[in-house]
Symmetry: C2
Subunit: 311 residues, 2 copies
């Protein structure tokens, strides 16, 4: 669908002009076809585990570009500095082989307090996620290049994924595909390490959700995962089956930003993260709706887990 | 508003990694500050007058990048060929000094017949303009670079503008600013050359327009300039005053695509051309609404004329 071909004409000084007829593919054989992947992470905090996990990805690093956006806060400056230190260290060890790395700093306001209970409070969600939407848009539309085949949204607090994450997700050949974000924790009841669902933004629309939406004023939003607004939407987080096929797919209507693979054409066609209520949805949930309005299907992998940091 | 700073870190092979701390400005002194401008033209037909006019623009060509998108039709292939011939000729004469030229070919379907009466028929507008929206999105999100300050949308059939077009429009320092698109013609009544309004997509919302919108089904659109749907919206085309100040501004709610200057941050924040009904608007008119939803103001210059080709 809508695969534009790109003819790049560069006109370097004192050089004969030349063509670069770019035969961009976006296919389930991404690695074999040497398709370029752009990994994008909004980053308010630098977690060494995130960076280590990223570096362990087995997709050819020379086909991967990285893009980061930091809030213009003390916390953001700290994260930027720590990432730069890590870049320098990797570089010194000759272990930094990514194609390109772009670091962006937001100018728009960021909310000060980022402690989990503050940032999850229902009433700050609209402002917070609207700001995140703008940050994500700036990030993708500054870093996407004519040679990008896939965009992987990977939050900076996703600390553990299969090392074959890119191959695994691209193999499904879906326009938008979300992994299931879980969290490791220590269960005091059983006295054992365990896992629990973390991201509730991967969901299927429900009758109740539509009913709530139809009763809202134009500028009100629904954010999934809050008791204040019970949508009874089937949440992908609850569809995890430890014994199920890791490749089983489910159609989704909303996605979170934890680990989402997007065909670059979806963004190039205009799919962005609404910072304003779009069908009463914003940010990543609004993005899923926008991708659908642009004619693309959205999926998730309930049994394919990635892990969120535990604060 | 939302001026992100870009830190580009390139990691060329066998080179020490380096920073390019990009102090991007977007200011009313664009030329003095050497701000880069990206001129984007969807092109179904190559008109030599368009190309000549473009080449006469007095803004420093080394600060200008060009982007074109052609329909994947015989007509589009012909236009691509003719543009390439013109590029070669300019190059041979050492007159081609643009920073970069990108040529894109749509893969999405284009409507076959492009004769004026066909393409303006009310019932084909939705399909046609939805396709144009996708083409514009692909074009801007493929060609925008971290160093772009301004994006000038210039239709490929705009054959005459002041040579200072870029300086003039940027000087207003508006997020979105549309020139007034007129057309030269021979008036058989007076037996004289004359001018007439051409583009009716630059408008101010009206009570009647809002009333019509509120009565429409979710997926219906309003396209301005059709008797079938009289909105009584004030149209910028009718505000032209030959004796008025060429710099007078008017706030707009809808814009056309003829000659529109956009701050690159507006696109980077996510302003795209909806290919689906967005507040019952699509393409350039929907873009204006989206820019407004993202918090930007939209303006037009009623007395600043540019001229559309006369078929
Ligand atoms: N640029 C930017 N990134 C942020 C900001 N706040 C959070 N992030 C990052 O955005 C991602 C998602 O945010 P997070 O607070 O973890 O959301 P949650 O997991 O849904 O609670 C993470 O990668 C954060 O590091 C911000 O203000 N600006
Ligand atoms: N890429 C592309 N450009 C087109 C297509 N149709 C028209 N155009 C270009 O888009 C611009 C606006 O289209 P046009 O037909 O002139 O619209 P009008 O002036 O509103 O009648 C012009 O620059 C055309 O050359 C198409 O199917 N694909
Ligand atoms: Mn998180
Ligand atoms: Mn035209």
């Amino acid at each position: 669908k809508n695969k534009d071909s790109v003819i790049l004409r560069n006109l370097p000084k004192n050089h004969i002009s030349h063509y670069d007829l770019n035969k961009l593919t976006i296919s389930p054989d991404a690695l074999t076809k040497k398709e370029e992947v752009l990994i994008l992470s909004p980053m308010s905090k630098f977690l060494p585990e995130y960076w280590e996990n990223l570096n362990k990805l087995t997709y050819d690093h020379s086909l991967i570009s990285l893009g980061f956006i930091f809030p213009r806060t003390q916390e953001g400056d700290q994260a930027l500095k720590e990432l730069e230190d890590s870049l320098k260290r990797s570089k010194a060890q000759n272990k930094l082989n990514f194609k390109k790395i772009t670091l962006l700093r937001q100018d728009s306001n960021s909310l000060k307090s980022q402690a989990e209970k503050d940032r999850h409070a229902f009433k700050v969600q609209k402002e917070r996620r609207s700001m995140m939407a703008l940050a994500r848009n700036s990030l993708v539309f500054t870093t996407i290049s004519p040679t990008t085949s896939w965009v992987l949204w990977l939050d900076a607090d996703i600390v553990e994924t299969p090392p074959t994450l890119i191959q695994d997700l691209t193999a499904h050949n879906k326009p938008v595909l979300s992994a299931n974000v879980y969290q490791r924790y220590f269960d005091p009841e059983t006295n054992q390490k365990s896992i629990r669902p973390y991201d509730f933004n991967n969901w299927v629309e429900s009758e109740e959700g539509l009913k709530i939406a139809s009763g809202l004023a134009d500028d009100e939003i629904i954010v999934e995962g809050y008791a204040e607004m019970a949508t009874y939407r089937p949440l992908m987080a609850h569809f995890y089956d430890a014994n199920g096929d890791v490749n089983s797919e489910m159609a989704l209507d909303g996605v979170g930003g934890g680990a989402v693979m997007v065909k670059a054409d979806v963004h190039r066609d205009g799919a962005m993260f609404p910072s304003f209520p779009f069908y009463h949805l914003i940010e990543t949930e609004g993005f899923a709706k926008m991708a659908k309005r642009l004619g693309y299907e959205v999926f998730g992998l309930p049994n394919y887990l990635v892990y969120h940091h535990n604060e």
